[in-house]
C-alpha cells in the first residue's frame, strides 16, 4: 500500500524529517507516536501533498506508484485521506455542499456517476448517525463555529463518506472528551477492512485503547526511534518518551517481524 524510503523533508530550509522508512501494508493500522516537534504532523502533511513541505531526499510509493508526483487533489481522488489536526473553516459554504463536491470529485475520478443532491443527502444522513452528529450540521458552514470536538467528528464524517484507501488521522484525539473519542474510534474501527490502511498519528496512548494498532512507531527528532507492536504504546505511557531516547540502538528499527 505505502512504502516510505529514506524520506527527508524540510520546511523553510529547516530539516524536520531526517530519513524515515516505513511500510504500511493493506489492512494494517500503524500508530505514529512521539513528542511535540518530532515531525509527526510533517509526515501527515507530506503524505497528503502539502507543498509548503519540501522533500529533499527519499521516495514514497503508494500502490506501487510515485506518490510525490501527484498533486494533493489527485492523491485524494486516489484514496488518500487526511483527517486534519486543525480542520479549516470555510465561511458561507455548507458542510453538505462541500462534502458533495468532494465526493463527486472522487467518484468522477473513479469512473462513477455523480450523486445528485437527494442521493447525497441520504448518504450523508446515514453517515452522520455513525459519528453522532446532529442533522443541523448539514447546512452549517464548514467547521465555522464548531467546537474542537465537533470539528474532529466532522473530519471522521468526511472520511466515512469518502471511503479512502489510506486514511491518515493527525492527532484526531486531541481536544476530544472520552465520549467523543469513543465515537471517533468506533467510526474508524467500522471502516477497518482488508484493503484499507490507517496511519494514526497521536501524542497519547489513550486513542490506541480504542483503535488497536498493528504496529507502533516512535518518532523522535525526525527519525523513527523505535518500532514495535501495540504493547509499545503501553510502555510509552508508563515510561514517557525519554525512555526511548535512552535506547542504545535507536533509529535502526525495522518493521518486518
Amino acid at each position: 500500500m505505502l512504502e516510505i524510503k529514506n524520506l527527508h523533508v524540510s520546511i523553510e530550509g529547516k530539516e524536520i524529517l531526517k530519513g524515515i522508512d516505513l511500510t504500511v501494508k493493506a489492512g494494517e493500522v500503524h500508530a505514529i507516536m512521539g513528542p511535540n516537534g518530532s515531525g509527526k504532523s510533517t509526515l501527515s502533511q507530506v503524505l497528503a501533498g502539502n507543498e509548503a513541505y519540501k522533500v529533499t531526499k527519499g521516495k514514497i510509493l503508494y500502490q506501487g506508484k510515485d506518490l510525490l508526483k501527484l498533486s494533493p487533489e489527485m492523491r485524494a481522488r486516489q484514496g488518500i485521506f487526511l483527517a486534519f489536526q486543525y480542520p479549516v473553516e470555510i465561511a458561507g459554504v455548507s458542510n453538505a455542499y462541500f462534502l458533495k463536491a468532494a465526493l463527486n470529485a472522487v467518484r468522477v475520478h473513479r469512473g462513477l456517476e455523480e450523486l445528485d443532491a437527494m442521493e447525497f443527502l441520504q448518504l450523508m444522513k446515514e453517515k452522520m448517525k455513525i459519528v453522532d452528529m446532529d442533522p443541523s450540521f448539514t447546512n452549517r458552514p464548514v467547521n465555522e463555529g464548531f467546537s474542537g470536538g465537533e470539528k474532529k467528528r466532522n473530519e471522521i464524517l468526511q472520511m466515512e463518506v469518502l471511503e479512502p484507501t489510506l486514511a491518515i488521522l493527525d492527532e484526531t484525539d486531541s481536544g476530544l472528551d472520552i465520549d467523543a473519542l469513543k465515537i471517533v474510534a468506533e467510526g474508524v474501527n467500522k471502516l477497518r477492512k482488508p484493503d484499507r490502511s490507517f496511519i494514526v498519528v497521536t501524542h497519547y496512548q489513550r486513542l490506541l485503547d480504542y483503535i488497536i494498532p498493528d504496529y507502533v512507531h516512535v518518532l523522535i527528532d525526525g527519525r523513527i526511534a523505535k518500532s514495535g507492536g501495540k504493547e509499545l504504546a503501553f510502555q510509552l505511557d508508563d515510561k514517557g518518551y525519554d525512555w526511548v531516547e535512552l535506547e542504545p540502538n535507536a533509529g535502526t528499527a525495522t518493521l518486518d517481524r
Binding site: G49, E73, V88, G92, Y97, A102, L162
Partner: protein, 478 residues
C-alpha cells in the same frame, strides 16, 4: 505551495460584434449633436430644452477625480453619441420586423426575444447601442395597467409621467456623468406600476453595446405607485475591443407610499484584457427615492465586468418607516478597478437601511467600497447596519473601504462592521485534500463569501451570477 497566480486566460464569451448597418451621429458633442439626437427621436420640445440645460450645465462641470480609480483622459469629442441599427421603417412594429442579425445577437447572448421562448415570468426590454429594439410581453402587462416600454416610447406616449418624474431623483446637475447623460441619453427603459398592482412578472432590460467608439447613455425610470410592487433585472454585455468605451447611465426609482421596488443588476461589460487594454468605463448614477411612507427600495448588484466601475446605487429615505437596502458583490481581476458602494440618506422618521458589500480582488484588481450613511435631524430613530467584507486572492490586488457616516439625530443607531480576508493556502489545501481542484475550491470559497448577497437575487440571476464568478476567476490561482 505556489502562490496564487494572476489570471491567465479569462474568457469573455460575449465579446463578438454584430455586423449591422448603423445610423450614427458624427463624433463629438455640441448643441448641434444634441439637437440631432432629439430630432432623430422626434422628441417634444420639453425634452430638447431639458437636454440643452443639462448640456450647458455639464460644460461648467469638472470630471470628478475623487474616485479611487485611474484612467487616461477621456476625450469627449471623440465619442459617438448616437448609434442605432438602421431599420427600413420608422421602427419595428413587431418582432417580425426586427433585423434577423439582431435577433440572432440576442439569441447568442441567451436572451431570445421571441416571447414564446422566453422564460415564463420575465418580460425583456432589449437595448442595442442607443436604442431599444424590442420589449416583450407588453400586452400582457398592459392588462394590469403596467407600462413597460423603451424610454423613447414613454416620451411620446406618456409625456406627463416623464415630465413629472424625469430628473426628480437624479437632477441633471447632480454630477458630471449624470449631466452628460441627461444631455445625450438615447434610450433606456420606462416602467410604471399603477396603484396597488403587484407586477405579474419580473421585468428586465438587457443592455448591449455593439458599435465601436460609441458611448452608451441610457436612462431608466421606474415609478411604483402606492402599494405596488415590482422586481426589475438588468444585464449588460459588450464586444471585446481594445479601445475603452464609455457607459454613463442614469437610473431613477420612485417608490410612493407602501410601494416596493427590487432592482437587481448583473453587470458583465467587457473588462479589458489581462494587461488592462480596452474594456468599458462604467460610470453610472443610480438612485432611488422612497418618497412615500412605508416604501422600500432594494438594490442588489453583481459587478464582474467593466475596466472601471464607478457607481453608488443609493436610496433617499424620505417617507417615514421607509427601508433602503444595498447588497453588492464587486469582483475585480486583471487590471480592473472598481469604486462602488452606496449612499443611504435618512430623512424620514424610523427609516431603516442595510448595506452588505462584498468586494473580491484578484490579479492586479483594485476594489474600493465607498459608502455614506447620512441621518438628517428629522430622522428620529433611524437605523443603519453596514457590513463591508473584502476578500483578496493573491498578493498583487488591493481592497479599500471608505465608509462615511454623518449623524445629526441622537436617537439614530448606526452600526458598521468590516473585514478583510484572504483565501488562505490552508483553505485551498484543505479543499484539495478532499479531491476538489484549486479552481473549484476558489469558486466555492468565493461563492460562500458572496452568499448573503446572492440570496437576494431572483433565482435565475443567482445561478447566472454564480457561474459568472466562476468564469471570471478561472485561472486566478496556480
Amino acid at each position: 505551495m505556489s502562490d496564487p497566480k494572476t489570471l491567465i486566460n479569462r474568457e469573455y464569451k460575449y465579446g463578438f460584434v454584430t455586423e449591422i448597418e448603423a445610423d450614427a451621429a458624427p463624433r463629438g458633442l455640441s448643441e448641434v449633436i444634441i439637437r440631432f439626437i432629439s430630432k432623430k427621436k422626434n422628441e417634444p420640445e420639453f425634452m430638447l430644452q431639458w437636454r440643452l440645460k443639462a448640456y450647458r450645465r455639464w460644460l461648467q462641470m469638472e470630471e470628478p477625480t475623487w474616485p479611487n480609480v485611474h484612467y487616461p483622459f477621456i476625450n469627449y469629442q471623440d465619442i459617438i453619441y448616437y448609434s442605432a441599427p438602421k431599420s427600413k421603417k420608422d421602427g419595428p412594429k413587431s418582432l417580425d420586423e426586427i433585423d434577423k442579425e439582431l435577433l440572432e445577437t440576442y439569441e447568442k447572448l441567451g436572451i431570445p426575444l421571441e416571447e414564446q421562448k422566453r422564460l415564463a415570468g420575465v418580460a425583456v426590454d432589449a437595448v442595442f447601442d442607443s436604442v431599444s429594439i424590442a420589449t416583450t410581453f407588453k400586452e400582457k402587462l398592459a392588462e394590469k395597467g403596467v407600462i413597460f416600454c423603451s424610454f423613447s416610447e414613454a416620451v411620446h406616449k406618456h409625456p406627463d409621467l416623464v415630465k413629472q418624474y424625469l430628473g426628480s431623483v437624479v437632477p441633471y446637475a447632480d454630477n458630471f456623468f449624470a449631466a452628460l447623460n441627461s444631455a445625450v441619453f438615447t434610450d433606456g427603459s420606462f416602467v410604471y406600476i399603477p396603484k396597488g398592482v403587484r407586477c405579474p412578472m419580473e421585468l428586465s432590460t438587457y443592455f448591449r453595446i455593439n458599435a465601436a467608439d460609441t458611448g452608451q447613455f441610457e436612462r431608466t425610470l421606474i415609478i411604483a405607485e402606492e402599494g405596488s410592487y415590482v422586481s426589475y433585472l438588468e444585464g449588460c454585455t459588450a464586444p471585446i475591443r481594445d479601445k475603452n468605451q464609455l457607459h454613463a447611465a442614469v437610473v431613477e426609482l420612485v417608490a410612493l407610499e407602501g410601494a416596493q421596488i427590487k432592482y437587481s443588476t448583473v453587470q458583465n461589460w467587457y473588462a479589458g484584457d489581462k494587461e488592462g487594454k480596452g474594456g468599458i468605463y462604467n460610470f453610472v448614477t443610480k438612485r432611488g427615492k422612497c418618497a412615500g411612507n412605508n416604501s422600500k427600495i432594494s438594490w442588489t448588484q453583481v459587478e464582474t465586468g467593466s475596466a472601471i466601475t464607478w457607481k453608488y446605487p443609493s436610496v433617499i429615505l424620505q417617507g417615514d418607516n421607509s427601508i433602503g437596502e444595498f447588497y453588492s458583490v464587486a469582483l475585480t481581476t486583471n487590471r480592473q478597478q472598481a469604486d462602488t458602494g452606496t449612499k443611504m440618506i435618512h430623512l424620514g422618521k424610523n427609516t431603516k437601511s442595510t448595506i452588505i458589500s462584498k468586494g473580491i480582488a484578484a490579479g492586479h484588481g483594485q476594489n474600493t467600497y465607498r459608502g455614506l450613511v447620512k441621518v438628517q435631524p428629522k430622522a428620529e430613530t433611524a437605523r443603519n447596519y453596514t457590513q463591508c467584507d473584502s476578500l483578496l486572492i493573491g498578493d498583487r490586488c488591493s481592497a479599500n473601504t471608505f465608509p462615511y457616516i454623518e449623524v445629526k439625530n441622537n436617537s439614530a443607531r448606526v452600526e458598521h462592521e468590516a473585514s478583510t480576508s484572504k483565501i488562505s493556502e490552508d483553505q485551498l489545501f484543505y479543499c484539495k485534500q478532499r479531491g476538489i481542484s484549486s479552481e473549484n475550491a476558489v469558486s466555492m470559497i468565493v461563492n460562500g463569501f458572496c452568499k448573503e448577497v446572492f440570496k437576494n437575487l431572483p433565482m435565475e440571476f443567482a445561478v447566472e451570477a454564480t457561474k459568472l464568478l466562476g468564469v471570471s476567476l478561472e485561472g486566478a490561482v496556480g
